[in-house]
Symmetry: C2
Subunit: 193 residues, 2 copies
């Protein structure tokens, strides 16, 4: 193997490694997945995994990064809408799409505080992205009732996206029902097609 | 030390160990907590921890067991109510109480699939307690819309109970708003005091 072919091969291993980690996370949870398991599933040595990532936290961050970046972008774009109604609608639609596009992953990452911390640490620019998300839904200076409803809505959507009870429901149907539930919870009128 | 005092001391260590593990889980997540960290926080050796629990899974199970047992009991008691309305009301009230009584813990345990699996494995008699829970809320043969709403409601309540954004809200206020949100989501009338 020449030096020239090394770079693409390495990039390919990294991509395969992340896809494998994601698959194992979704089956065993982040906690139940070891670097050794990732190496075994890839058919490489643990040393080969270490070449790309020194810790499981680094893998977790790399797997979650695109998801968090898209979430931050959706929140910023939603906040940039003029009317409050449009802000909420933009965020709900974007959030539900994101969850449905990453059904199992969303459930894994929406909750474990260790994982959430690891992600926030790695994405300093993203800052307090969960707080920003809630702020768009709940508005400025929300009362406790509004804050609770916003939290229940977003957390419920994120976890339900990965619920095993709904694994047989197709993406479009799940998207439609999640959006309808969220709108009902937040007292939003139905969108007109 | 005589043999007579050994048993209570051992029992006491086990109780302190579980309380310490719970505290560390809530700060670092289950994933971020090692047996060594638990030993250090207790001021004992790792061997002393091994005397009580061979793996972190066993500790996780022991910490979660009372919570899951109560959840199973609430579900059974709710299912035993005569009217559908009473079943839902009983389950919602019991579930919200349980979450509020275990705010951070509920969030930690409601989501990580590895933790959930470990608990279900240890509590064979509890069977598929999440499915039973959903069944009481959604009723027999629910359509997809009802199933999604039930999932979003229960998952949202469980995670919101431990939300850092709501840490400053006192238990009674949180309980009241969670219950109001759940009733609104499920189209339940307000309970009359």
């Amino acid at each position: 193997m020449t030096a020239r072919t090394d770079a693409p091969a390495t990039e390919d291993t990294r991509t395969r490694l992340l896809a494998t980690a994601l698959r194992l996370f979704s089956v065993h949870g982040v906690e139940g997945t070891s670097l050794q398991m990732i190496a075994d599933a890839l058919g490489v040595t643990k040393a080969a995994v270490y070449y790309h990532f020194r810790t499981k936290d680094e893998i977790t961050e790399a797997v979650a990064e695109p998801l968090v970046r898209r979430l931050v972008a959706i929140t910023e774009e939603a906040a940039a809408q003029r009317r409050r109604g449009a802000q909420i609608e933009y965020l709900l639609t974007g959030f539900v799409d994101l969850v449905v596009d990453n059904r199992v992953l969303a459930a894994v990452f929406s909750s474990d505080p260790g994982v959430a911390r690891a992600i926030e640490k790695s994405l300093n620019h993203a800052g307090d992205f969960k707080k920003d998300l809630i702020r768009v839904i709940a508005g400025p200076e929300p009362d406790t009732a509004t804050l609770v409803t916003a939290n229940v809505t977003l957390a419920g959507i994120a976890l339900t996206g990965g619920s095993p009870e709904l694994a047989s429901v197709d993406d479009d149907t799940l998207r439609e029902h999640l959006l309808a539930t969220a709108r009902r919870m937040l007292g939003r009128p139905r969108s007109r097609p």
